[in-house]
Symmetry: C2
Subunit: 365 residues, 2 copies
């Protein structure tokens, strides 16, 4: 049944690795890395890509070699993997809390890894002071500011200033700057917040050497925050349906696809993919229709999931995939899909290259 097996590349992937396989095109990856670097250079910002998307020291090194100043990690376990992979200048955009984490942070610092965590509360700050003491080194800390996203971050400039002073007051800690993830539609508010913090810091003889902004959707307004010194973008290395939906990427910019095989065609308008929520994840992508875009059958809808079943609605398709055919799917949210697998299969155009490990997969601690 060769006609039922999809493109030559899909067939090669299915035969070599089996499906589902999470596949990235290195040609597009390199283009995306280059584009981010140029965008940061043009805006006069240092580039500090977030590795939560790819979780691979190999790809982080590629970003560094193209000009990235350093990297961003969300969790300490990711930073440990990156440091072991030779990456340095690591920002952790997260409150690290608890003695188990402080012991590991101290170890990294003592080993000479250039790492900075951030804080939005005194508990985190005081823990960092313990870690610095244990490491017998000075630790730079950023204050996370929430300018409207309602995630982590202090909610007022006054709290930011107070926390910066607390950091500066600890022996062993150094106040290094501010971390923002401005909502895409709240740039003026975010600017006003930042300006107020900067003014207050100056009054206390403090300075934010680093002002780190974030987000791939925000790449379109890079430079909109005056006073920013660097930007964190994760998703842009691969892109996904969510980035397409917000206008940050086109289908041609999507470097990652899940290759999956149609394993059942129970009814004329139904089909089952061998990829369910344990591969594509149940991430709704902020309200997208369905759970992925099938490139070969864009009219097909992945309408639901079981853990290993992707339920296809083929009602709107003029052509329909046959049982045994392998298709490629741009997922809703690429960062969570990468985190499901131990390796990414790499290709260049229609040529298989080989696997690279997702070394920081599952490093949630």
């Amino acid at each position: 049944m060769p006609e039922a097996q999809g493109s030559p590349l899909a067939r090669a992937i299915a035969t070599t690795y089996g499906t589902p396989a999470v596949v990235v095109d290195l040609d597009i990856v390199e283009r995306n890395i280059e584009r981010l670097q140029v965008a940061c250079d043009t805006a006069g910002l240092a580039n500090r890509p977030h590795i939560k998307t790819h979780k691979s020291p190999v790809l982080a090194a590629l970003q560094r070699d193209k000009g990235a100043k350093g990297i961003t990690c969300q969790k300490l376990g990711e930073a440990e993997v990156m440091a072991a992979g030779g990456l340095d200048d690591i920002l952790i955009s997260y409150n690290l809390i608890g003695e188990e984490k402080m012991a590991r942070l101290a170890r990294l610092v003592r080993e000479g890894v250039n790492i900075r965590p951030c804080a939005d509360n005194p508990v985190a700050v005081d823990g960092y002071a313990d870690a610095a003491r244990a490491a017998e080194r000075t630790l730079g800390v950023l204050v996370e500011c929430d300018t409207g996203r309602e995630r982590a971050g202090v909610e007022t400039p006054g709290e930011a200033i107070e926390l910066a002073r607390r950091i500066a007051g600890h022996q062993g800690l150094r106040f290094d700057g501010l971390l923002l993830y401005a909502p895409e539609n709240k740039m003026p508010e975010s600017q006003a917040f930042l300006d107020a913090v900067q003014a207050g810091l100056a009054e206390h003889g403090l300075e934010a050497k680093i002002v780190s902004t974030g987000g791939t959707p925000n790449l379109r307004q890079l430079g909109a925050i005056t006073g920013a010194t660097e930007h964190r973008s994760g998703t842009s290395i691969f892109n996904d349906r969510m980035m397409m939906a917000c206008g940050a990427a086109t289908l041609a910019d999507c470097a990652l696809a899940v290759y999956a095989t149609v394993v059942s065609r129970a009814g004329p308008d139904r089909g089952i993919l061998d990829s369910g929520s344990k591969t594509l994840t149940a991430d709704p992508g902020g309200g997208l229709d369905g759970y992925g875009l099938i490139r070969e059958y864009p009219q097909a809808r992945i309408k639901g999931f079981a853990e290993e079943h992707g339920m296809l609605d083929l009602g709107a398709c003029d052509r329909k995939p046959a049982i045994g055919e392998t298709v490629s799917i741009v997922p809703n949210h690429v960062c969570v899909v990468v985190n499901m697998v131990d390796q990414l299969v790499t290709v260049r155009g229609n040529e298989l290259v080989g696997p690279i490990p997702v070394a920081a997969r599952g490093k949630i601690v």
Copy 2:
């Protein structure tokens, strides 16, 4: 800040393993295993638990030692891990398709593993014939029937009979029976489907030695399908919020919890857990409110996620957790949560026992 760190067990888990940690109570696990075995024994059905929930040969062996006849796997990669872990009599409740999978299936069969796949289409059946030929063994195959769930499975008794005949017609294959996952509210329809298939099979001199039913929600009506010979239940070993919602379990039956730490309390009614969609997953649990039940703060709502942030709405709480406090969360859907981590931390009551590996984690191929 000892008062902010939660219960002694939570503190021990956070200090020893860090959070988030996925924790199972072996006392409850054993009770759940026992209860499933008794339910199957009482109904006169063989017990064939689905290992997709725990993905651990250690726990599968516990199920076998308590009386399970065999196990169920969804993917070949899971079966390979279970076979390597000493489990035998493996049913794969899934269409396996493609030459890469047939080579691996043939290898297991040749090595003497007692394994049966299922099929709902001729492509899968013909592939199994290839695998049997390559293994130089006879392979038993089940026909998957869809009695209304609209997942995989043939949709009519006629198709089931035709497929059984196709299996029996292949040298090297043996028609062994039928696989159902009856919708909870379609028992009479499922019975009628099964009766029609059985009658048709008899006309052609065929017999379904195995009639395998499935589902933890269906445990409440175990024995409702006359002619069933065995039952597959996965989730009942741990249970979760979904099983509580459908009445298949109580909170006391939930053996698994995600231990997570509050890392931010940005506003009086807001909080952030160090567990987001990369731990608890975005699985909505079939329409539950929020993404998990915090046992210590049942009025708290996990209202949304970032990848590593769980957004807490504490508006309805009379007591509120402090920064640094570790809480325990019963997830919406336990099977996908286990699949996020490389190990389960085990406890008995308030005592830490130790980690067991999730050996089949991510075995999606």
